[in-house]
């Protein structure tokens, strides 16, 4: 009977194309508005490393003033001071962890031939563990070693995009580039991937474009680099002077720190390690606040960073509300369409169709309308996401891209919405009295 009902649905839809178009369009607009906001909301709050949910943690030490907490309500600083980052690295060699700092310097080719391709390259200075922590895939080469970290080697891992730009996609391992006026040897090339939101950043920077290159944190320190104008940093006390050494010895916090643990036991061991470390530092007159060292999960990190910020959520709920309005319109249009069918329904009832048969017939018609609305809705979602890419240029394009999961969700949402919209008109039409047919003269 399904095929028969489907055939009847298509015939019925062809009979009143304007009414069907209005229903499909109302649904499509509602679905598109909802799916656009749901896509942005969902993709911007999705953990890019779900398999590391219980293994990967941000290290937060509460090195703020005694008077008040760093951020209300009770959030400890996201960044560490250089003293603490450096101490954790040297004292916790057995652990897998990495400091992460931001650098923006001009990157240029060492070749004197060809056109000059200098550009301001965004970089992260990290330790060798960073690549394993965040599952960074390699196209060529690999990460630098622990020894390279210790030796503050001038090594660099460049992105596929950078590699394409300077080396036309060829294997560039062993070749050199000039970054910030220093010559760096390329040791690896990362493969392009979707990694959003970037865990190892804060706030809107979690949606910034991928880095152009990575180099050792120790190298940044040995070169005396600090991105003062562009780095996020918080100082509970003023630096003693403006020298680089003074920055390193200050209580200014500018380095993010992430750690990965094999299991719960190792996590507990690390918690003990940082608690012991902070207790030792307290004895030296640092860390005035009560002991509050945190290993923050990815989920909590997202919450701290307002990844699912209230504005986006409000927008999403408004869009869902709009979908409801569209649904009410569809209910009205469907009622009008199905009421127009009451004489045919009465005839079918007289010829032996049960209420259930009529219900299924019109339910399938509703589903067909829903499917059309869904397909058009997803098309409109795609167009609106493309449009938003041009408006929200600060956000990474990938946040506004439909994947299969979202595409199917959109279709499902549309069908579900139509089912909800269609259920009342369908029940109503299936209750049409058959005897009215005989009364019609």
């Amino acid at each position: 009977m399904f095929n028969y009902y489907l055939k009847l649905a298509l015939i019925s839809m062809r009979k009143s194309p304007i009414l069907v178009f209005l229903m499909v369009f109302a649904l499509a607009i509602g679905v598109a508005a909802s799916m656009t906001t749901i896509t942005v909301n969902y993709l911007s709050s999705k953990n890019p490393l779900p398999h590391k949910e219980n293994n990967l943690f941000a290290v937060q030490l509460d090195n703020w003033s005694i008077e008040k907490s760093w951020r209300e309500p009770d959030i400890t600083p996201f960044h560490l001071t250089y003293i603490d980052a450096n101490n954790l690295l040297s004292l916790g060699e057995k652990f897998k962890h990495s400091p992460i700092a931001q650098m923006d310097m001009p990157l240029e080719s060492t070749s004197i031939d060809g056109e000059k391709k200098t550009f301001m390259a965004q970089a992260k200075s990290v330790s060798h563990d960073f690549f394993a922590l965040f599952d960074v895939p390699f196209l060529y080469g690999q990460a630098w070693s622990k020894e390279d970290d210790k030796n503050s080697a001038n090594l660099v891992v460049i992105s596929e995009k950078t590699n394409n730009k300077f080396f036309s996609g060829a294997n560039s391992v062993g070749k050199t580039l000039i970054y910030g006026g220093e010559v760096f040897t390329i040791i690896g090339v990362t493969k392009k991937r979707t990694f959003l939101p970037k865990l190892y950043a804060t706030n809107v920077f979690m949606f910034a474009e991928p880095e152009d290159l990575y180099f050792p944190f120790s190298t940044q320190i040995s070169l005396g680099w600090f991105n003062e104008g562009k780095s996020i940093y918080y100082c509970q006390k003023d630096k003693a002077s403006d020298t680089y050494e003074s920055l390193l010895q200050s209580e200014c916090m500018w380095i993010l720190f992430w750690a990965e643990f094999k299991d719960k036991a190792e996590k507990e061991q690390y918690q003990q390690f940082i608690d012991n470390y902070v207790s030792d530092q307290k004895a030296l007159g640092r860390f005035p606040r009560p002991l509050d060292n945190r290993l923050t999960s990815i989920k909590t990190w997202f919450k701290y960073q307002n990844v699912t910020n209230k504005d986006t959520q409000i927008l999403m709920w408004l869009a869902i509300l709009f979908l409801c309005v569209c649904l009410f319109n569809t209910v009205g249009l469907m009622l009008a369409k199905f009421t127009g069918k009451s004489s045919e329904v009465a005839l079918r009832r007289a010829l032996g169709a049960s209420k259930q048969s009529i219900f299924y017939q019109y339910l399938i018609e509703s589903l067909c309308i829903g499917l059309c609305g869904g397909v058009l809705g997803m098309l409109l979602t795609f167009i609106s996401l493309e449009y938003f890419k041009h408006i929200y240029t600060k956000l990474n394009d990938q946040v506004m891209t439909l994947n299969i999961e979202l595409l199917l969700s959109g279709l499902l949402l549309s069908i579900l919405a139509t089912l909800i919209a269609g259920i009342y008109p369908t029940i109503k039409v299936s209750r049409t009295s058959a005897c009215m047919q005989l009364r019609q003269k």
Partner: protein, 229 residues
Amino acid sequence: MLKMSGISKHFIVGNVKTQALHSFELEIKQGDFVAVVGPSGSGKTTFLNMTGMLEQPSFGQYEIDGVQVANLNDKESSRIRNEKIGFVFQSFNLIPELNVYDNVDVPLRYRHFSSKERKARIENALEQVGLAGRHKHFPPQLSGGQQQRVAIARALAGSPSIILADEPTGNLDSKMADGVMALLHDINKAGTTIVMVTHNDEQAQQAGRIVHISDGYLSESTPLQQAIA
């Protein structure tokens, strides 16, 4: 085959009770041709609705082929209506978006026949009404008489034991009406019971039995020809 005992029907609208049909007894045997006559508003349509199980009687017992059908649920009454009763309406009531073949197919679809069985029944029914070559035509492409023949084919296709015809020639000119009446008589001769509501005395006189309905009361008379014989 069809037995109504103590059947009555009333409608209540607000506080007003309207007695559409007063208690009556009626038995129709297999192969009968019954004409139902009476003035407008006398209760003919209510009678036909109850006979076709489209309305439940307020009181009384109704049997079709020995099965009590007065208080069946929707699914069961739909099944019996589909299997045992065929309808022919004054205004044909064909579905304009479906072609002749698909219109005749409608009651068969609810019977869950195989497509082969349905095809055979549709072709046979259309041949019986003389429209074998009109499968692909749509109702608006046919004359009134042809449309009524399609409606009769639709009623016949399921091989019902009874055909209920509500003024089947009411919308036809006399020539077409004669053709339709001849067809109904042929079907009746083949053994199918026919209950036909009509305003036409001449047609009523051609029936085997005449049921008069007046102000909700049923009475029966013998057609003139039979009375003389």
